[in-house]
Symmetry: C2
Subunit: 677 residues, 2 copies
C-alpha cells in the first residue's frame, strides 16, 4: 500500500476548480455572443457541477462520533498503547473485542481471497537488513519533508503545515479573496505533498509560515525517512530496518514460491503482518499510525498477459470508479461493470479489475455501507515509485474519504531491482503450445585472435563483448562496420579497442524455441487492516431510536467478536445449571460466547451485549426451568423467538456460520411480540 | 517465557555427578565395614543410577535429520530470510506450508486455552517506549555477557565459549581426567550462564580461552542488552525498543482488562505476537532466533488463593515432572497426577498445575511424542528476575531437551513495578462473603501543633509520618515511646524530629470491612511458537519403510497445512471436470486442498502429498468417469477406500474436523487391498 495521504479533499477541490472554469466559460460565451445552444449546454454543465458541489458539501451521514469513540475505548475495542504512561502518538492496542473482530476479519479475508484462488500465504520477518530496502528504493525515497522550529527544535511535516495554513487562510478570507486567488491557493495546498525541498522552502517563505507552537521561523525542509532503524547483532555495524510494507518479503521469496507452485504463472502469494512507519505527525486514531497491520497479495502475471482466468465470474459486478480523468474534470464517480471498466480502458487489465471486484465483494461482507465506497485511481503525480497504475479503495468516513486498500500494478519493478542487486535470476518460463521460429542474432568470437590482440585488457574487452551479446541492435551495427570497413571499434569504459573482421562475426539466424523467460509483473491488492476496522466501526455503529445513550455495533455475525450472549434474567442460583450447560454446548460447538450473570436488569444486559455487537442473546427466565426453552433475541430488530434448549445451540451455529438466516429461524419459531426496548 | 538456555545437558551432567557420589558412598561403606543391608541398598541405587545414565546415553529416536532439513527447505516450510542476499543469522521466513501449520496451530491454541476458559485476547504494539522496559527491568537486566576478539572485533557470547571450550576439553581428555576433575569442569560449564562479568573473566583467564576465529585474547566480558533499540518520532530523542516478550502489553492494560471482566478475578488475558531478541549467537534453526512468535497467557489470581475452579477436570491427568530436587540428585523424572503434584508440594499451586496439565493435553494434539515430553522446574539460580516458580515444557529433539514453553508464577512483580512507576493503581478487589472485623491501627495527627513545631521542615516530616502510617509495627512502636516517655524521635533522611505526646497518637481499633484490595499474582504459560513447530516437525517426520528418500510429515489433520490432495491419475483432459467439481466442493466446505494435475505417476503424486503432510488423497481414475466414485487414501497407512464423489467431501469434512475418524469411514467403505507403495 502506498503511504501517501488519502485525497479526502480531492473531489471538493477539483469540483470548485471545475465550477470556476465552467463559470468562466459561460461568461466568456455570453460576452463573445456565443450560440444560444452552446450557452445553454455550458449552463447545464455548470448547474450540474454546482449541484454536485452542493451534494458534496452535505455532511456524510452523521454519526455521534463522540459516543462511538467513548464506546470503542470503554469496551476496549481500541485503546491507546502505554496508556498508563501517557501514551505515545501513533500507537494503539486492540482490546479483546477489537482483537477478535480483527482476527475474524482476517480469517474472512483468507477465505475470500486466498482459499478462493489458491493464493499461497507466507510469513516473513519484520526486521530486514539494509540491502533489501536500499534495493527496493525505500532507503532513498520513502520520505516526507520535515521542518524544525528554529526555537524549540520541534519537528513538523512540511506539507501538512502548508495545507493547514492555506485552509486557515481561505477560511479567514473567504469574502475578500477572488475565486481565482482561492483556486491558486488551493492548488498550492494540493501540490504540497509532491514538492521538492527547495520548492517547499519557497512556499513556506512566500506564505510566511512559522512554527505553530512558538511562532518562530522554520528550518530548511529536509527529507525524513519514515523507516525505523535498528542494528542487527552485537557489533553495531549491521544496519536493519523495520519493514515499511509486507510486500518485500514476498518478492525476496519469489524464486522458491514459483518452484513451490510447480513453475506455473499466474499465481499469487499473500502476507498478513505488521508494517512500521515512523510518521512525523500521526493522526486520526487508526488512520495514520506508526505500527499497523497489512494484508497484501502479490499476484504474479506475464507482463503481456494480465488476463484473469476467473474474470468472467466477476465481470458483471458493478464498480463505483473515480478515474483520474474525472477527478480533474467533473469530480464525479461513475458506475461500470468490471467488464466495461476494462473494455473502456479505464482499468488497465483484467487482473486489476478482477481484484477491484473481489475487494468490492469483500467489503460488502463486513457491514460497510456500499454507497460510501469508491475506487479512486491515482493521479500520475501521486503514484508510488514502483507503481504504473493504482486504484485505491476509498471509504467515506466522518473525516472524509479514506484510502483503506490499494490495488497497484507494480509492473516488474521489484523483481527486477532485487534480481539485479542479488544476481539471482527471478523469471518465469512461458512454454509455448507449439515451438516458434524466432529471429536471433548469433555471434561467433575467435577467442584465440581476440586474446592475442588484447592480452592484458581481456577483462575490459570481455565486458564490452558481453554488452554486445546482450544488445542485438549494437551487435548488428558492429557486424555492419566489420563487414563494410573490415574493422570496428569497441568502446569500453572510455577505452577503445579496434577489432578486425577475423576476430568476430554476427548474423541473424532463425531459431526454433519452445519457451521464453520473462520477469513477471505483479498486481498488488493491499489492505490496511486498521483502516478497514475504522470503516467497519463507523459504518456499523448506531444508537437506538429515542435513546442516544444506547449504542449498537451492527457487526455481521461473521466478524462479531462474540456471537452469543448468555443472559440469565437475574443472578438467581436456579439459572446456574442452565447457564453452565449452554456454555458447555457453545464451547463444544466452537462458538465464542459471553455470559452476563450479574444482577442488573435484563435491559441493561441487552444494552451491554449491543455495545459489543453480539448478534444473538439467549435469555434464560424462570419459565426456562420448566419448559426447557430459552428466548433468542436478534440484536438489530430486537425480535425474540422461543427455542428449546436442546436445539438452540445447533440453530445458533447455523445462523452464525451462515448456513441459515434469522429469517429461516423465525419461520420455524414465530417471533414473539417485540417489546420496545 | 524466560530467554535462558534450555538445560539440555542437565540430567546427564547431574546423573554423572550422582553416579560418582553414589560410587564414592558405596566404596566408603565397603571400606569402613558398613552394614550389608546398607551396602546392598546403596549398590541398588548405584546400579539404578548407572542404568538411567546408560539409557540417557542412548541417542534419542534417530531421525534422518538431513532428510528432514532438506524437506523443510525444499517444500518451503521454513526458509532463511533474505536468502537471495545471503541471509542474516537468526531470521527465518515461513513458506506456504509452514505458515499454514503455524496458523492452524495457533487456532487450535486459541480454542484449547482461550475459548475453554474465557481467556481474553488482546494485541499490543511491537515497539514500546523506554519507560515500559526500564520499569519491567529489561533495560537493566535483559543481558548476556559478551566478549570481543581483541584482534578482529568479532563478538561472542561468553557463556557459550566457556561451555564449548569445556566440552572440548572433556572430550579430548576423557581418559586422563579423574572423575572429580571432570565433575569440577562440568560444574564451571553449567554455571557459566549465571556468572558476573568478573567471574567470567576469571574463568576465561583460568582456562586460557582465546577467540575461536583468530586465536587472539578476548576482551573483558561486558553485559550486552538483547533488545533492539530504535527511535520514535522525528526528533530522535524518544528511545524505544522492540518488545522482548508479549507479556508487558498485557500488564500495561491490566486496569482496563479487569474492568472489561467486570472486576472479577481470577481471569486470564492472552497475546499472540512477535518478540525480538538481538541474540549474540543465534543457532539451531528456529530454536534461537532474533525474531520469533510467542503465545502467552497471563492468568491473574489472588496472591493467597491460587486455586483453579476447573482443577478437578484435570486433576487425574498424569504429568512427567522433573523437579529441581531431582535434577540435583537422581536426574530422573517422575510421573504424578496433577493432583498429587500439588498435594506433594512439588508444583506450588493449582493454577500452575492446571496449566501444566492443559499444556500437556495440548501438545498431545500436535503429534508430539509424549514419551519425549517433560516439565522441568527451574533451579533457583536460573529463574528470571520476575519469577518465583517456573516449570518449562521441555521436548526432546535431536539436539537434546529443548524448552518449548514456560509456566512461570511471576507473582505480582510486574503489576507492582508498573503501578509504582506510573502512579496508576493496579489492584483487584476481593469482596468478602460477609463483612469481617479486622484490627487496624488508627492514627490521629494534631496538624496545628506539628505544623507549628516543624514549619520549614514540613515536607520531610510529612514524609516520615506517611511512612509511619504505612507501617503498623513502626506506628505502634512510636506510640509506645510517646506513651512511655512523652516523646519520640521521627527519623527522616538522616534528620531527627522530636515529637511530643500532644502531637500524635495511635491506637489499635477494630473495624468492619467488606472487601480488600490486592495486587494480583500472575501465572504465565508462555509458548515459543517456532520451537513447538520444530518439535512437531521432528516428531512427525518419518521415511517410508525401505525407501529413505520418501519422507512423510505425519501431521494430525487439525494442523496439516493442506487437508486434501486432489490427484487425477494422469493429466488426461477427461479428469478436468471432476477435478474442478471437487475443488469447488472443497472450497465451499472451507477445506484447504491442493490439486496435482501434472503428468507424473500417481506414486510420485502421493510422495509429494506425503512431504506436505496432507492426510488424505483423493485419486480420480478412469473408472471414476463411469462409477462417479473416487479413491481416498490415508497418508500413514496408505490404506484406500472407494467413495462416491457425491459423498466424499462431506465425509472428508467430518474426518478433518474431528467429528468422524478414518476408522468410522472404513466401516462404511471397506479398505481396498493396500498396495505396497
Amino acid at each position: 500500500m502506498n503511504h501517501k495521504k488519502s485525497f479526502a479533499k480531492m473531489d471538493r477541490d477539483s469540483l470548485v476548480a471545475a465550477v470556476a472554469r465552467q463559470g468562466a466559460l459561460v461568461r466568456e460565451l455570453k460576452k463573445n455572443g456565443g450560440a444560444a445552444t452552446d450557452i445553454t449546454a455550458a449552463v447545464v454543465v455548470l448547474n450540474d457541477l454546482k449541484a454536485q458541489l452542493n451534494k458534496l458539501e452535505e455532511p456524510a451521514p452523521t454519526i455521534n462520533k463522540k459516543a462511538l469513540e467513548d464506546l470503542l475505548l470503554r469496551k476496549m475495542f481500541v485503546v491507546p498503547s502505554f496508556e498508563i504512561y501517557g501514551g505515545v502518538g501513533g500507537f494503539y492496542d486492540f482490546g479483546p473485542p477489537g482483537a477478535a473482530v480483527k482476527t475474524n476479519l482476517l480469517n474472512l479475508w483468507r477465505r475470500h481471497f486466498l482459499l478462493e484462488d489458491d493464493v499461497l500465504e507466507i510469513e516473513c520477518t519484520n526486521i530486514m537488513p539494509e540491502v533489501v530496502l536500499k534495493t527496493s528504493g525505500h532507503v532513498d525515497r520513502f520520505t516526507d519533508l520535515m521542518v524544525k522550529c528554529t526555537k524549540s527544535g520541534e519537528c513538523y511535516r512540511a506539507d501538512k503545515l502548508v495545507e493547514d495554513f492555506i485552509e486557515n487562510l481561505l477560511a479567514k478570507n473567504a469574502s475578500t479573496l477572488t475565486s481565482a486567488e482561492q483556486e491558486r491557493h488551493r492548488l498550492v495546498a494540493t501540490k504540497a505533498e509532491s514538492l521538492t525541498p527547495d520548492e517547499m522552502h519557497a512556499v513556506i517563505q512566500e506564505y510566511g509560515i512559522l512554527s505553530p507552537s512558538h511562532g518562530a521561523p522554520l528550518s530548511q525542509p529536509l527529507p525524513f525517512n519514515l523507516m525505523f532503524q535498528c542494528h542487527i547483532g552485537p557489533e553495531g555495524t549491521h544496519l536493519g530496518y523495520l519493514r515499511p510494507e509486507t510486500a518485500q518479503g514476498i518478492f525476496l521469496n519469489f524464486r522458491r514460491l514459483l518452484e513451490y507452485n510447480a513453475g506455473k504463472i499466474p499465481f499469487g502469494c499473500a502476507q498478513i503482518g505488521n508494517a512500521f512507519r515512523n510518521e512525523i505527525a500521526p493522526r486520526g486514531g487508526l488512520i495514520r499510525v506508526r505500527e499497523f497491520q497489512q494484508a497484501e497479495i502479490e499476484w504474479f502475471v506475464h507482463p503481456e498477459d494480465k488476463s484473469h482466468a476467473k474474470f468472467d465470474l466477476v465481470a458483471d459486478q458493478i464498480l463505483t470508479l473515480f478515474p483520474k480523468g474525472l477527478q480533474l474534470t467533473t469530480g464525479k464517480t461513475i458506475q461500470l461493470t468490471a467488464r466495461e471498466s476494462v473494455a473502456q480502458g479505464l482499468v488497465a487489465n483484467e487482473a486489476l479489475a478482477y481484484y477491484l471486484a473481489r475487494t468490492s465483494a469483500f467489503v460488502s461482507l463486513l457491514g460497510v455501507d456500499m454507497t460510501r465506497v469508491r475506487f479512486r485511481q491515482h493521479l500520475d503525480t501521486e503514484m508510488a515509485h514502483y507503481a504504473c497504475d493504482c486504484w485505491d479503495l476509498e471509504i467515506q468516513l466522518s473525516t472524509g474519504w479514506v484510502e483503506c486498500a490499494g490495488h497497484a500494478d507494480r509492473s516488474c519493478y521489484d523483481l527486477q531491482v532485487h534480481a539485479a542487486k542479488s544476481k539471482v535470476e527471478m523469471v518465469g518460463t512461458l512454454k509455448y503450445d507449439a515451438p516458434r521460429a524466432v529471429e536471433v542474432v548469433d555471434i561467433k568470437v575467435n577467442k584465440g585472435k581476440v586474446g592475442k590482440a588484447f592480452k592484458a585488457d581481456m577483462k575490459l574487452v570481455t565486458k564490452g563483448l558481453d554488452a554486445l551479446a546482450a544488445d542485438d541492435a549494437a551487435a548488428l551495427a558492429f557486424e555492419d562496420s566489420l563487414a563494410t570497413n573490415g574493422r570496428a571499434e569497441l568502446n569500453v569504459d572510455d577505452r577503445v579497442f579496434e577489432f578486425t573482421r577475423d576476430m568476430w562475426c554476427a548474423a541473424k539466424v532463425t531459431k526454433t524455441v519452445s519457451e521464453e523467460k520473462f520477469v513477471p509483473s505483479v498486481i498488488e491488492p493491499s489492505f490496511g487492516v486498521g483502516r478497514i476496522l475504522t470503516a467497519i466501526f463507523e459504518h456499523t455503529f448506531y444508537t437506538r431510536e429515542g435513546d442516544e445513550k444506547r449504542g449498537v455495533m451492527a457487526f455481521p455475525a461473521a466478524i462479531s467478536p462474540i456471537k452469543v450472549a448468555v443472559l440469565p434474567l437475574s443472578n438467581a442460583k436456579e439459572f446456574n445449571p442452565i447457564v453452565a450447560d449452554l456454555e458447555r454446548q457453545l464451547r463444544a460447538a466452537g462458538i465464542q460466547a459471553k455470559s452476563d450473570t450479574s444482577g442488573v436488569a435484563i435491559g441493561r444486559k441487552y444494552a451491554r451485549a449491543d455495545e459489543l455487537g453480539i448478534p444473538f442473546g439467549v435469555t434464560i427466565d424462570f419459565e426456562s426451568i420448566d419448559d426447557k426453552a430459552v428466548t433468542v433475541r436478534e440484536r438489530d430488530s430486537c425480535a425474540q423467538i422461543r427455542v428449546p434448549i436442546a436445539q438452540v445451540v445447533a440453530h445458533l451455529q447455523q445462523v452464525v456460520n451462515g448456513t441459515a438466516t434469522w429469517e429461516t429461524l423465525t419461520k420455524q419459531y414465530p417471533v414473539l411480540e417485540t417489546k420496545k426496548e
